[in-house]
């Protein structure tokens, strides 16, 4: 029964992902979905920050392991709205690079702030990521598929971080996860300093 439920989940995802335009419709296209999926994945600064969110959530354990990946897309959408309506925001790229540094350091230093503080920190950085995505959201027909694509890609990057972060249950894995946090922080430094 559980396997059947999983198959159904996969089927539902498949239906949403492959949502194709009907002939009589407004032209929404499943093609935008692939572009949306690729959008965060081809931005290494986005990728490392998203993975860091998942890593940190796994490191902190329940309920952070699921709360942070839920907070992030919701606040990211708010940031996206700011970008779409053209609210001026300074230092967006700096904010994105800083998110990688700070979140990477949180993992590397095994920081365990209160849950609300972790959620607030992740949410604050999500605004920068959302703003950058919102500015680049394509107008018109493919917007729904595009936005669903990049939100799901963002979520899947969190899942990657969580999957790796689960290794922190074991001593050697804990070292590996903290090392990964250090690498993420270094990537952030490279972006902030203009080396990358």
């Amino acid at each position: 029964m559980r396997r059947a439920a999983l198959v159904l989940v996969a089927g539902a995802f498949g239906a949403i992902l492959s949502g194709a335009p009907a002939l009589a419709h407004t032209g929404e296209s499943g093609g935008g979905f692939v572009s949306g999926m690729a959008h965060p994945i081809f931005g290494p600064d986005h990728v490392v920050a998203m993975v860091a969110v998942g890593l940190w959530g796994a490191f902190l354990g329940s309920p952070a392991i699921w709360l942070l990946p839920i907070v992030f897309p919701l606040v990211m959408a708010f940031g996206g709205v700011l970008g779409i309506i053209g609210v001026p925001m300074i230092a967006v790229e700096t904010g994105i690079a800083t998110s990688a540094i700070v979140l990477g350091l949180m993992v590397a230093l095994a920081a365990r702030p209160p849950l609300w503080a972790a959620a607030a920190l992740v949410g604050a950085f999500a605004i920068f990521h959302g703003y950058a995505h919102g500015r680049e959201l394509p107008d018109g027909a493919n917007a729904v598929a595009f936005s669903a694509g990049f939100v799901i890609a963002t979520g899947l990057l969190h899942v990657c971080g969580i999957a790796f972060g689960v290794l922190s249950r074991w001593p050697a894995g804990r070292c590996a996860v903290r090392a990964a946090g250090g690498v993420i922080a270094l990537v952030g430094v490279a972006y902030l300093s203009g080396l990358a």
Binding site: G19, H25, A143, V144
Partner: protein, 165 residues
């Protein structure tokens, strides 16, 4: 009649509809209220009647994004209010019907297309609503809430884009 029926079914499968039906299905399943399929069907019938009066431009697509965002956030909060669920189900059914105007030359073909869209929408909704009650493990229930947050985020972004431009 088979071809317009199939065309109507195919017409349902656009991302906006899937976002709304996805969120609503998760909400219905989370609350274990299969009875909410009835207001959805009633809403669809009401929307189809409005379409029959030759209404052309409606804000149905925007309404569907609002419904998707609201239903998604209710899934995140695991807030299974019967009243809100009923209202959202009725509104979603109506909006999908209004957003699926049949492109047919004859009345029977138009009815068949609307019927096809109704069948596809109801079947998809029932299929998705089937999932949360079977998500017994904690991580599966969390997965349902995570998907709700994704749907809300996507809907809010597109809604902002539509209203801003």
């Amino acid at each position: 009649m088979i071809t317009p029926l199939l065309e109507g079914m195919w017409q349902f499968f656009v991302p906006t509809h899937l976002l709304a039906v996805g969120a609503l299905g998760l909400l219905i399943g989370q609350g274990r209220r299969a009875v909410l399929l009835a207001p959805f069907a009633l809403g669809f019938a009401a929307g189809a009647l409005v379409i029959a009066t030759a209404v052309r431009e409606t804000p149905a697509a925007t309404a569907l994004l609002v419904i998707a965002a609201l239903a998604g956030i209710l899934v995140v909060l695991a807030w299974t209010s019967a009243l809100l669920g009923t209202a959202l189900a009725f509104a979603a059914g109506g909006a999908i019907a209004l957003n699926s105007p049949p492109q047919a030359l004859t009345i029977p073909a138009a009815i068949a297309m609307q019927l096809g869209a109704a069948v596809a929408a109801s079947a998809t909704l029932a299929l998705i609503a089937f999932i949360p009650p079977r998500a017994a493990r904690p991580w599966q229930q969390i997965g349902v809430r995570v998907v709700g947050s994704w749907i809300t985020a996507s809907a809010i972004l597109v809604l902002a884009l539509r209203l801003a431009r």
